[in-house]
């Protein structure tokens, strides 16, 4: 019948579109490898496996935060509070540990504040229909304010558990990873699974595709919206813990502007800010890209302060434009 013809034709006309959905991620991967290759060819020590490991060690917390951000952006929202929440979590843990609370309890509290804030912001965004940007911006001020309010100077962490977690090295040959990296990997895996295989995850994509439709399709739009901001809060909290492992301290001004790095990583990873399309894997690549750029610059060691900024911008530009020219198109949907 006609429709089956139409279908036939459709299959023919549209089959070649299939890889496009993963294309952004593939392109990012390719470009990342190219960049790494450049590093290796330019600087001897760059080829050490440890350099790669370090990229993970040094960006673990950013990756975790960016993963949370991915959820939010997939729904078409945005969360500017992440950087401050990371700092707040580290700050609170440091303060509580200083006051001699047992690490387990501190861990629990620290992991609760972030999600709570996220939940509250989610509720405000959903029930009062205020734009995420400004709600989370307020959240950002709030969390940062809390940091300086707790203490205006950084608080060292001497707790045994923390220090061991921070300095424990998982040796692989003569290279090593840290506990943080393991946690990061777990978070990424769980997140990827959630997005791909749970109803919550799929609803996230649906809302990003078209919130009104999602509502009319009988999906729990409100619940999901609130959930993603809570998840982002949780990821920021975990990121904060990782950061406190990483620096063994809480500092009021740490992770300033991290939200931008996270957003950048997510978008570089091929996720659309308008929501509905993207992968956690892409986000991971995005973070690695940022990390490798930083590493390249350090290895070079000849750039002064402002050239550093300019070169970062330049590399970002080169990467994104290439990504674009290599066929990554923003999809325009016929029902949007």
């Amino acid at each position: 019948m006609s429709t089956s013809q139409l279908a036939e034709r459709l299959n023919r006309t549209t089959r070649w579109r299939l890889p496009r959905r993963q294309l952004p991620v593939l392109v990012s991967l390719a470009l990342l490898l190219v960049m790494y290759g450049i590093g290796v060819s330019q600087y001897q020590a760059f080829s050490n496996i440890q350099v790669v490991f370090n990229v993970f060690i040094d960006n673990g917390f950013l990756l975790v935060v960016a993963v949370g951000m991915t959820f939010v952006i997939l729904t078409g929202g945005i969360d500017l509070s992440v950087g401050s929440v990371v700092a707040m979590t580290a700050m609170v843990s440091a303060a509580l540990l200083r006051d001699g609370l047992p690490p387990a309890l501190v861990l629990l509290i620290a992991l609760l504040i972030g999600p709570t804030l996220g939940f509250v912001m989610g509720c405000i965004i959903h029930f009062f229909e205020i734009q995420p940007f400004i709600v989370t911006l307020a959240g950002m001020f709030f969390a940062r304010g809390l940091c300086t309010w707790i203490s205006s100077s950084s608080i060292p962490i001497t707790d045994g558990f923390w220090t061991s977690a921070a300095q424990e090295r998982i040796r692989i040959g003569d290279n090593f990873l840290t506990v943080g990296v393991l946690i990061t990997v777990v978070v990424v895996a769980v997140a990827a699974y959630t997005l791909a295989y749970t109803r919550l995850g799929r609803n996230v994509y649906a809302i990003g595709g078209n919130p009104q439709s999602a509502l009319l399709m009988g999906l729990p739009v409100g619940r999901t919206r609130i959930a993603v901001y809570t998840i982002s809060g949780l990821c920021s909290a975990i990121g904060g813990i990782l950061l406190s492992f990483y620096t063994l301290s809480g500092a009021p001004l740490i992770a300033v502007g991290m939200e931008l790095d996270a957003i950048a990583a997510v978008v570089i990873g091929g996720t659309l800010l308008t929501g509905g399309a993207g992968y956690v894997l892409g986000t991971m690549l995005g973070v690695l890209v940022l990390g490798v750029i930083q590493t390249l610059i350090t290895f070079d060691g000849t750039l002064n302060s402002w050239w550093t900024k300019i070169v970062i911008g330049g590399l970002l530009f080169a990467f994104i434009v290439l990504q674009r020219l290599l066929g990554f198109r923003k999809k325009s949907f016929s029902t949007r």
């Binding site: 019948m1 006609s2 429709t3 089956s4 013809q5 139409l6 279908a7 036939e8 034709r9 459709l10 299959n11 006309t13 549209t14 089959r15 579109r17 299939l18 959905r21 791909a196 295989y197 749970t198 109803r199 799929r202 609803n203 994509y205 649906a206 990003g208 595709g209 078209n210 009104q212 439709s213 999602a214 509502l215 009319l216 399709m217 009988g218 999906l219 729990p220 509905g276 399309a277 999809k331 325009s332 949907f333 016929s334 029902t335 949007r336």
Partner: protein, 515 residues
Amino acid sequence: MSDPNPVLTMTAISKFFPGVRALDGVDLRLFPGEVHALMGENGAGKSTLIKVLTGVYGHDAGSITLDGEPVAFSGPMQATEAGVSTVYQEVNLCPNLSVAENIFIGRQPRRLGAVRWRDMRRRASAVLARLNLDLDVGELLGSQSLAVQQMVAIARAVDVQARVLILDEPTSSLDADEVKQLMRIMRQLRDEGIAIVFVTHFLDQVYEIADRITVLRNGRLVGEYPTAELPQLALVEKMIGKELDALERLDEAAGRDLAAVEAGTPVVEATDLGKSGSVEPFSLTIHRGEVVGMAGLLGSGRTEAARLFFGADRADRGQLAVDGRPVTIRGPVAAIEHDIAFCSENRRTEGLVGELSVRENIILALQAARGWLRPVPRRRQDELVRRYIDALSIRPNDPEMPVRNLSGGNQQKVVLARWLITEPRLLILDEPTRGIDVGAKAEIQRLVVQLSDGGMAVLFISAELDEVLRLSHKVAVMRDRQLVTELANDDDLDADRVMRVIAGGAEQKDGTRHE
């Protein structure tokens, strides 16, 4: 068959929007195992009533009962859970998800909480097969034509084991074959005892399937009638509230004199115009005052072809000549400079700017043509807008109302008005009467005739053959993205013959498919 006590009742429902009383004391009774047609002209309140029922809107007065229990759904989610499954007007699906997911999202098959993709795809294909539609369910919905999307929406709704099924203008962008399939399914479900609400502007479909009819007018209940006791014309009068002779008068238009216009000067000539992967090269000439109808199955490439004339898509081969002079049309801007206008079939995504007012949407094209430095004087705007609001009876007739708040049909009229005020010489209408009520449809058809008599060339695409035949001098038939033939619309050209030409492909197709 419909047993005495209704599965669902809505009593004295009222719904006010700022400045509009969309519903005013409307009742609706729904019995198990019946198809209940909800009729009314554009803006009568059909969609609103449905949205009130499923809890998208709250209601300002009245009560709803399901199985005698009073209910007030907080939203579609609750409604669906309570067994009320709905296809809303306009496709409401997620373009970024696969076809399969659009059918199953929210109720995916799972094992231990994990979505079972393969299982889901298998079941999706099965559901679509039931609608005689077979396509790769892994495809993104967004890459499907409007028609396919609408079928998917229907598939989603009929698959859930609902007790009440609501279809708001499901057939607006389907044509004969798909409608047949849909009817078949509806009968099946009715016989399974499901109550079906069916909204459409196609009267023949109503009389083919509906058991009872509820008529709304301007948000008020006109009455509820068994279909058998309400002849077509009576129904129309109840809908419009006045005698309608338009339907007959239109037949004057039929059998237009092709020779006369062919003798005239050609406005646009396409020679081997085509776009790879979209439309095979075709040649078509449209003369001054000529109405060229385009017929074809869904996805036969009519829209694509039309878009090439307007430069909405850029042709990658062939030639376009305006007034005999070859021109290269890079985009809409260039097309408009040559007095070509294009009324897209997809008003929501390609037509309207929902946030802007009716007035702004209507003058948009004219303004764009004049350039931003020469704004259309406000007085002239108001006068133009007023004229077309009346001419097309756009309701509510408030020029400053955001166009998104208009009913589907009225939105369509706004898009039409936008292009009419640019006074084009070639007007391309892709499904211009989609979702438009009988009265307005007659208005628009009369308008087309009138314009072509006034010398305007019109390319008229419609899924309704008789409409095409009624208006056009010649009919260009498309099949498989090729323009197969042009038929002069003389007295011995009728729907069946066109159908045969169109379907001619179908048999061939089957042939080719088997080898």
